[in-house]
C-alpha cells in the first residue's frame, strides 16, 4: 500500500503538473512554477519510494494499476534514484536555463520534461513486456519532443529525426525480442538475445548504435540532456537485467566485454576530439557505459569460470559505476547548460577564461570532471578500481586465455583512463582557463542561484556515494542484484564477502590525500604570508601586445593525440595551407566525424534511399495498376498457403505459452 500510494502520487503529480503547465503555457511564469514544482514534488515522492525499496525498508511490491502490472523492488529503486535526483536538479536548473525563452515554449518544455521523467520512472517499474514496451515507447516519444525543443534550428531537427529513428528501431527490436521468446525453434533464444541486446543497447550507446546519442544530447536543452544522460542510458541496462532472455553467463560475458572495450575506447577517442562541449560530454557517456559493460562482462565471465571474487568485483563495480556516472555526468551537463546560457555557445574554441567570472561553476565542473576521469579522490575511481580488481582476479584462478583477455581489458581500461584525463583537462582548460577567446563571452557572468544550487546538490550526492560506497556495496547492491534475475546475477553470492575492504581502503586513502593536499596548501600559504604575493601577467616573452589568440585552443590541446589515432587526417581536416611566399589567407579546421556514422550508417542510408528511389517506379499513380498489384499479391499468398502444410496442432495463444520462454514473463500475475 505504501508503494502503491507513493507511486500513484508520483504519477499524478508529474502527469498533472505536465498537463497543467501546458495549459497555462501562455503564462510562462505560472507554467514554469507549476512545471518545476510538480517535477520536484513528484520526484521527491518517487525518492521516498526509491530509497525505501533500495534500502529494503519495504518489501518488493507488485501491483496492478490502470490495467497494467507494476513491480517495485530494489532494482527499480536503483535505477530510479539517479533519474529522481538528477530530475530534481534538472528541474531546478531548467528554471534559470529557460529564462528568456519565448512565451509559450516554457509550457511545452515542462509538459515534455515531466512526461519524460515520468515515463523513465515507469520503465523501471514495468513488470511485464506490455508495460515495458508501453513505457519505453512513451519515453522515446516524450524525449523526442525534448530533443526537438529548439526545432527551428536545422541541426536540431536532424538530430531529432535521427533520435526518433534510432529509438523506434530499438523499440522494434525489443518487440521482436519478446515475439521471439514465444518461438520454440532452437535459434530463437539466440535471436531473441541479439535483438534484446541491440534494442536495449541502442539506448545505452552500444558501439555503432551510439550515433544518435551525441547529436541529440547536443540538440536537447541542457537540463533535459542531463536527465537523459543520467537516467535514460542506464535504462537499457535496467531493461537487460529484467527482460533479457535466459542466457549463459559466458555468452553474455563475452558479448558485454567486447562491447565494453570497444565502447570505452571509441567513446573516449571521439570525446577527446570534439570541440563542442556537449558532444564531448555525450561521447564520454558512451565511454562510461563502455566501462560499465566492461565491468559486467568481466563479472559474468567470472561467474562462468566460478571465480566469485571476479564476478563480485566486476558486476558490483559496474553497478557502482552506473551511479557514479549518472551523478557526475548529470552535473556536468547541467554545468554545460550554465556555460551555454552564459556564453550563448557550446564551441569550446570560442570560450576561455570563464573561470574568473564563474568561479563556482568552474570549481564544480573541475571537481566533477576530475572525478569522472576516474581520478582519486573521486567516486568513479572506486568503481574503476573494482573493475580493475575484477580483471586482476584472474591471476588467482582462471584459464590462461581468460587471464590474457582480462589483462588486455585492464590495459584498455587504463588507456581509456589516460585518454579521459586528456579529454577532461581539455574541456576544463578550454572553457574556464586562460583568457576569453572571443569578445562575445567577455561579459559572461556567474549563473543565478537556481542554476548553481542543483549542481552543488548533485555533486554532494556524488560525494555521498563516495563516502558510503563500502556500505552501499555491502547492503544495497546485493539486494539490487538479487532482483535482476533475468541475467542471473542472483547467482552471485553475497557481495559483502569481497571487495568492500578495498573500497574502504581506497576511500580512506583518498580522504587522506585530500587532507594532505589541504595541509600542504595551508603550509604553503602560511609560508607565503611573510612576503607579499605579486600578481603579474603570464610570461609573454616580453612582447608588447599579447592577444588571446596566443593560447592553446581545445582542438590544439588534443591535436597530437588525435593525430596519432588518425582521427584528424583526411576528411576530418580541411586545410587551405598558406600558398606562395607571401600568403594572404589560409585556414585549417578539424571536425571529427563519427566513423560509425560515416562508414556504416551513411552508406546504409544512401543504399536504402537508392533502393527506395528504384521501387518508387512501381508507384505509377494509376488505380487499376494498384488493383492489379493487390490481385497478384493475393494470388501469391493463396499459392503459398496451398503449398505449405497446415499445422493443426497450433495451440491457442495465451499467457501460459509465453511463460516458459521468458522468466520475466513467468512472474506475471494477472490483474485481479
Amino acid at each position: 500500500m505504501f508503494s502503491f500510494s507513493l507511486f500513484a502520487l508520483m504519477f499524478f503529480v508529474l502527469f498533472f503538473g505536465a498537463v497543467l503547465s501546458w495549459f497555462l503555457r501562455q503564462r510562462p511564469v505560472t507554467a514554469c512554477r507549476i512545471g518545476a514544482g510538480s517535477a520536484i514534488l513528484g520526484c521527491a515522492a518517487g525518492l521516498i519510494l526509491a530509497v525505501a525499496h533500495l534500502f529494503q525498508w519495504v518489501d518488493k511490491a507488485q501491483f496492478p494499476w490502470m490495467g497494467l502490472d507494476w513491480r517495485l523492488d530494489a532494482l527499480s529503486g536503483f535505477f530510479m534514484l539517479p533519474v529522481l535526483l538528477v530530475g530534481i536538479a534538472a528541474a531546478c536548473h531548467s528554471v534559470g536555463y529557460l529564462e528568456g525563452r519565448s512565451e509559450n515554449r516554457q509550457g511545452v518544455y515542462w509538459l515534455f520534461f515531466n512526461l519524460t521523467l515520468l515515463s523513465m520512472l515507469l520503465v523501471t517499474a514495468a513488470d511485464t513486456y506490455v508495460e515495458l514496451l508501453l513505457t519505453w515507447e512513451a519515453m522515446c516519444v516524450t524525449s523526442f519532443a525534448l530533443v526537438a525543443f529548439d526545432y527551428k534550428e536545422d541541426k536540431v531537427r536532424h538530430a531529432a529525426w535521427v533520435y526518433i529513428l534510432a529509438s523506434h528501431a530499438g523499440a522494434l527490436l525489443l518487440i521482436l525480442m519478446f515475439a521471439l521468446q514465444t518461438n520454440a525453434s532452437p535459434a530463437a533464444p539466440v535471436a531473441a538475445l541479439v535483438c534484446g541486446l541491440l534494442g536495449f543497447g541502442m539506448k545505452s550507446g552500444f558501439p555503432l548504435l551510439h550515433v544518435w546519442l551525441p547529436p541529440s544530447y547536443d540538440a536537447a536543452p541542457a537540463p533535459a540532456t542531463s536527465v537523459m544522460s543520467a537516467g535514460m542510458v542506464n535504462l537499457g541496462i535496467c531493461g537487460m537485467m529484467r527482460f533479457l532472455p535466459p542466457v549463459t553467463p559466458a555468452l553474455i560475458g563475452w558479448i558485454l566485454l567486447a562491447v565494453g572495450v570497444t565502447s570505452a575506447l571509441m567513446g573516449i577517442l571521439l570525446a577527446m576530439t570534439q570541440s563542442n562541449l556537449k558532444r564531448l560530454l555525450a561521447y564520454s557517456s558512451v565511454e562510461n557505459m563502455g566501462i560499465v559493460f566492461l565491468g559486467m562482462g568481466l563479472g559474468f565471465l567470472g561467474l562462468d569460470q566460478g571465480n566469485t571474487a571476479m564476478a563480485i568485483c566486476g558486476i558490483g563495480g559496474a553497478m557502482l559505476h552506473i551511479w557514479n556516472h549518472a551523478f557526475l555526468k548529470g552535473t556536468l551537463f547541467l554545468l554545460a547548460g550554465t556555460v551555454q546560457k552564459a556564453t550563448g555557445t557550446v564551441a569550446m574554441d570560442e570560450m576561455g577564461g570563464l573561470g574568473k567570472n564563474m568561479p563556482i561553476t568552474k570549481s564544480v565542473f573541475t571537481c566533477n570532471a576530475a572525478a569522472l576521469c576516474g581520478l582519486p579522490p573521486g567516486n568513479a575511481f572506486l568503481s574503476e578500481a573494482m573493475i580493475y580488481l575484477a580483471a586482476f582476479q584472474c591471476v588467482v584462478s582462471g584459464s590462461n586465455f581468460m587471464l590474457g583477455v582480462a589483462m588486455l581489458a585492464a590495459i584498455a581500461l587504463a588507456l581509456t583512463g589516460g585518454l579521459a584525463a586528456a579529454t577532461f583537462s581539455k574541456a576544463v582548460s578550454a572553457v574556464f582557463q586562460g583568457e576569453p577567446r572571443s569578445d562575445a563571452i567577455k561579459d559572461a557572468c556567474e549563473a543565478p542561484r537556481t542554476m548553481r544550487a542543483p549542481t552543488l546538490f548533485l555533486s554532494g550526492m556524488a560525494f555521498i556515494v563516495f563516502l558510503t560506497a563500502p556500505w552501499l556495496w555491502n547492503h544495497v547492491l546485493p539486494a539490487v542484484l538479487s532482483q535482476a534475475d533475468a541475467i542471473g546475477t542472483v547467482l552471485i553470492p553475497d557481495l559483502a564477502s569481497y571487495g568492500s575492504r578495498t573500497l574502504a581502503a581506497v576511500r580512506n586513502f583518498s580522504l587522506l590525500t585530500i587532507v594532505l593536499i589541504i595541509a600542504l596548501e595551508y603550509l604553503r600559504d602560511r609560508r607565503m604570508r611573510q612576503q607579499p604575493l605579486e600578481y603579474k601577467c603570464t610570461w609573454d616573452c616580453g612582447y608588447a601586445l599579447p592577444t588571446s589568440r596566443m593560447q592553446y585552443t581545445g582542438t590544439a590541446f588534443t591535436q597530437p593525440l588525435s593525430d596519432f589515432f588518425n582521427l584528424t587526417k583526411g576528411k576530418n581536416r580541411t586545410t587551405q595551407p598558406p600558398e606562395g611566399y607571401f600568403p594572404t589567407s589560409a585556414s585549417v579546421d578539424i571536425e571529427v566525424t563519427d566513423p560509425a556514422d560515416h562508414y556504416l550508417w551513411r552508406p546504409i542510408n544512401l543504399i536504402t534511399s537508392r533502393i527506395a528511389d528504384r521501387t518508387r517506379r512501381i508507384q505509377s499513380g494509376y488505380l487499376h495498376i494498384y488493383i492489379l498489384m493487390a490481385v497478384i499479391a493475393l494470388l501469391a499468398m493463396l499459392i503459398f498457403a496451398a503449398v505449405t502444410p497446415t499445422r493443426v496442432d497450433d495451440p491457442p495463444i495465451g499467457e501460459s505459452d509465453i511463460a516458459p520462454a521468458a522468466t520475466a514473463v513467468a512472474r506475471h500475475t494477472p490483474a485481479p
Binding site: S275, A347, D349, E350, D540, C541, G542, Y543, A544, L545, P546, T547, R549, M550, Q551, Y552, T553, G554, T555, A556, F557, T558, Q559, P560, D563, P577, P578, Y581, F582, P583, T584, S585, A586, S587, V588, D589, I590
Partner: protein
Amino acid sequence: MTDTTLTITNCTAIPLQRVPSLPVNTFRETLLELVNQQQRRVSAFFAMPGADTGQGLELIAVLANDNDHTCDLTRTTIQDEFASLTPECPTFAWFERELAEQYSIAITGHPWLKPIRFQPPMIDGAADPANPPKTIIAGDTDYFTMDGEGTHEVAVGPVHASVIEPGHFRFQCLGEDVYSLEISLGYQHRGVEKMLLGGPDRRTLPMIATVSGDSTIASTTAYAQLCECLAPSLKPSPDALLLRGIAAELERLANHVGDLGALAGDVAYLPTASFCGRLRGEFLNMTAEICGNRFGRNLVRPGGVKFALTPAKAEKIFRWLDQVSKDVDNALNLMFEAATVLDRFENIGPVSKTAALDIGLVGPAARAAGLDCDIRFSHPYACYADTAPARSEASGGDTLARALIRRREITASTKWLKEQLALWKKDNQTTPAATALPALAPDSIAVSLVEAWRGEMCHVAVTDAQGAFRRYKIVDPSFHNWFGLALSMRGEQISHFPICNKSFNLSYCGHDL
C-alpha cells in the same frame, strides 16, 4: 647591358656619374630581366637622398653576377613612390620593406609591406607640433593569421629563455603543426647606417666591427676593402691579405663549431654540445693570439692589418690547431654517427633549391640547398684569388644538410689553415696600416663583397663631394636569410623550430643594424 647597367668587379670604386641613371620603368624592367632571366643575385638595393634637396631619392641596385666575378650597378631617381618588384621577384621583398621604412617610400603593390626594423625614418622630418610622430612599438604590425576555430598562435620572444638576441617569432599553429611563421625583428636597431653618414672618422671602424659581433673579421674586411679602393694609396701587402684570410677562416671555424655544438645541445646530445662549446673557445683564443681580441676587433683595418703574425706565433697556432682539430673531429664524429641525432636532423626544415633561389638565400644555408654561392670563389677578394679552402657542397636543404655543410667547411678550412700556417715564414711583412685615413675619392661609389661565415656580406659606400660617406649601406647575410628560416618552418612541427633556427643561426643585430 652596358646602356642600362655598369659592370664592375668586386672591391672597385668608380665615380657615381658612370652608373647609368635610368627612368623608373626601364630601371624596373632591367632589374627584373637581370634577376629573373640572368641569375643575378640582389646584393644591395637601397635609397639615398638626392645630391641636392628637392631632387627626390636615388635608388641604387647592386646585382652580383656569380659566373662572371662581377657586379652590375644601376640606379634611378624617384620622388616618393615605387611600384613593387616583389610580386614578380620575391627576392626584393625585404629590400623594399626597408626602403619603405627608411625613406617613407610608398611601395605600391607589395604583398607584405610591414615594418622591418621599427626604426624611425633616416631623414629627420621637420618637427610638426600639430602632428607629432607616433611612438613606434617594436613588433606592432599586422601578422598573417590563419582562419579556423582551432587555430592559435604561438608568440616567442623578443625575450628568449636562452641567452640569445631579441626577436619576435609568430607561429600560426594548430597544436604541434606549424602552418606559417613570421619573424619580426628590429629590437636590436641602433641606427648604424645613420651614424656612419659623414664618415669615415674615428668611430667608423669600431662601429663596423660591432655590426654583428661574431662576424667582426668579415665586416671589418669589407669596410677596409671599401676604403682601400676609394683611396688607392692604401694598398695592403699580400701578406696582410693572407692574414685577413686566416683570421676570416678562424672566425668561420669558431662559429661553425659553436653552431654544431648548439645543434647537438638542442637535441639533448650532451657530449658534442659540451665539447664544441669548449672548442669554439679554442678558435677564438687563436684569434686572440694573433691580435689580442677573441673576436678580432682590431685586427683588420684599411690598408692592411694592425698586428703581425710572427713565425713563432704561426708555429704555435699551427700546433694548437692540429690538436684542436682532432678534438673537433672526434666530437663531430660522435654526433654524426649517433642515429638518434641524425634522425632529429633529417628532413627537418627543408628549403627547396627553387625557394632558396627565389628568395635569394646566401651562405651555408644556400649551399645546403644545393646552390653554388660563395663569394670566396665567385667574387674573390683578399687572398682568395690565389689560395682558398676547398669548396664544400651539400644538398637537400634540410637541417642535416645545413649541419653537414658546416662540418665540411670546418674540414676544408682547417686543412687550408694548416697549409697556410705551415708556410708562414714571412716576418714583418704585414706592417701596421696607417692610423690616419687619407681622403677618399669624392662623388664615387664603391662595392665590397665578402663571404662572412653566414654568407655574403655586402658593403656599399657612396661618397659626397668632400669624400665623406653620403650613404653607407650594409647588407648582412642574415638580411637575406631570415625569410628562409620562416619558410623552412611551414608545415613543420613546432618542436623542430629550435634546431631549425640553430641550423640557420642568423644574426639579429646584423639584420637590425
